[in-house]
Structures are given as structure tokens and as C-alpha cells.
Symmetry: C2
Subunit: 189 residues, 2 copies
């Protein structure tokens, strides 16, 4: 997706440890026009794929997930990183490891918002080692629902999450795949 | 805003302690068509108000903030509840008390994303005691910027945040104001 790649090259910063800083348009400040274009591109790639709900994780996944959900006319659900105090009833949880923050955390989704037999598309801002996506997949399977596609804004192609998920048979659509980072230079696949 | 009030009455649940559970359409699952209508209504109410950026807090503020930002063609910034590991450089922070979760936390915004002299609209999902809004106002003022309006999806009119902010001269536009809760019955102002 050219518009996204241009913005990554113009504003993204490669930091130590394979971290890519895109906080000027994706995960701190959000460029809504870009996110709208991202959602449009997800819809194009998901043509013909069944979708009852979109699932993401708070917080940076919310903008692309909700914009895509608006175009697909389905609800968007965001998994919470702490069990919500206003929730009661059954929840699904999964453990996720953040390599960026070097810690484990639980993600939680109310059982009210993923039902048996549903077709769910996962959307997230980043795919690196695949820990968040794997947690979301676990939750969807706990609920007896099906993952029909995974939409990623930026995949770190130099880490193994995308390869592992594709080898497991998931359809992963990444709008920009960063092949490697040489010094401060970001190169796309 | 009738559509919102209808959905609150149909799906909202009044819990002990003045908590209103709206996780089926606003803060866990998101109804994107409703959020789009909310954004449209914010734009209508903000006609003629100057806006360089929209500021909200992760996570539940993001959907209405980004949808409104898309219509106003300005960036949306979400304050983070933990200092982001990919951030460097100057940040503004403010302390916020969550009465629902009974704890204090810091919110952080990079100085790159609020600049001196800018006109900023705050958008959030809830206004209760006004602690989150006050934290965002503090951050905007630290940056030398101006708060031109505050847009709230649901105001708890039985708590004092809205009154305090309006008495201080802020223009607060709340799309639904809950006057009181009698038993399980939600009554609007």
C-alpha cells in the first residue's frame, strides 16, 4: 500500500531492537485520512471473506479496526489489557508477551462479544513475533468461532510472526512488510 | 442525540456506584455506525470552532476521536496511560484519578503532538467527575495550547465534572446526559 509505505519512510524511525516508531500517524497521534485509506484497502483485500465481527487489542489497533468495521458494517471488539471493572460474566483470556515492553500481560474479551460459529477478522497495527495475534486467535477458538483473516498495518518481516501464522494456514494481509532495517533505513519486502 | 440515547436505554446497564455499562457499543465492543453518527453530531455542534487537533485518552476515547478527526480533517492524538517505550524526547504528563477503578494513573502526551498556540478539541467517551478531562486540559495548557471545546459521548449529570468544567468557562458538548439512575432505570436530563 503505497500511501502507507510513503508515510512510514517519511515519518517512521527505526530504533534499536527492531522497534519502528510510527507514533506520528499510527499509535500515538493518528492520521485519520491514512487510517481511512488503510480501512479501504483492508476491505478490498477481504472481498469475499466472511466476517461477523472484527477483533483487535487496545489501544493502537482500535482506529484501523473501527474504521474497517464501519465499511464492513460489522461490530468491532477490542480485547482489554486489564479485566474491565464494569464487566461481569464470562470472559475469554489469553496471555500475550510484549517483546517491546519485555513483559507478559493478559488480554480479555467478554464472552458476549464473540459467539460460537462466528467468522472473525483480526486487525492489528503491528505484527512482529505474532504474540498478540496468537492470543486473539486463542480467544476466538475458545469461543468456538473461526478466524477468517488477519489484517495487519505493518508487519516486521524480519521477525517470525507472519511466517508462523501463514504456515499455520491463516490468511495474513499486511499492508506494509518491512523486510529489514539497515542502520536507520527501512526497506520493504 | 436520540440514536445514542435509544442505544443507552436498549443496551446500557446501570450498576452499583453510578457505573453505566455500555460495553456492547462504546467501550469494549464498538458499534461503528453509531460512532460515525456520534462523530457527525460532534462536527455539527463544533461548527465554527477552531480545531488544529483532537485529543483523547486511550482506549475508549479513540474510536469517537478518530472518527470525528476524519470528518474535521485534523490529526487525533491519544494520551497514553503508560509512558510508551518507543517514545523519546519531551512529554507532558498529568495525574488522573479513576473513580471506577479506584486508582490514580499518569497520562502522557509527546510534546511533538501538541504545539504552542494550537486550538485543541478534547473528546472522550465519559465525563463523570471530570478527572480525565482535567488531566487533558492540564496537558494542553502545559503545551501553551488552547482548549476550544470538549465533546463527551455520555455525561453523568449526577456527578460534578460537567458542572465544574462549564463553570470554568469550557464549552462542554455532551451527546447524552444521564440525570440520574433510579434502580435500574436510566433517566436523561
Amino acid at each position: 500500500m503505497d500511501l502507507l509505505k510513503k508515510q512510514i519512510l517519511a515519518e517512521g524511525r527505526a530504533l534499536a531492537g527492531g522497534i519502528i516508531r510510527v507514533d506520528s500517524f499510527l499509535n500515538h497521534q493518528v492520521d485519520p485520512v491514512l487510517i481511512d485509506a488503510i480501512a479501504e484497502e483492508f476491505c478490498r483485500r477481504f472481498t469475499g471473506i466472511e466476517c461477523d465481527r472484527i477483533l483487535t487489542v487496545e489501544a493502537s489497533g482500535i482506529a484501523p479496526a473501527v474504521m474497517t468495521a464501519l465499511k464492513l458494517k460489522v461490530p468491532a471488539v477490542f480485547a482489554k489489557k486489564s479485566r474491565p471493572s464494569t464487566s461481569s460474566g464470562k470472559v475469554y483470556t489469553a496471555k500475550v508477551h510484549s517483546f517491546t515492553k519485555q513483559k507478559d500481560y493478559d488480554i480479555t474479551v467478554s464472552a458476549d462479544f464473540i459467539r460460537q460459529g462466528e467468522r472473525v477478522i483480526i486487525i492489528d497495527d503491528f505484527l512482529a513475533h505474532g504474540s498478540a495475534s496468537t492470543g486473539l486467535i486463542d480467544i476466538i477458538h475458545h469461543a468456538g468461532a473461526e478466524v477468517t483473516a488477519i489484517g495487519i498495518v505493518i508487519e516486521k518481516g524480519f521477525q517470525d510472526g507472519g511466517r508462523i501464522l501463514r504456515e499455520k494456514g491463516y490468511r495474513v494481509e499486511s499492508l506494509a512488510i518491512i523486510e529489514n532495517i539497515e542502520g536507520n533505513t527501512i526497506q520493504f519486502r
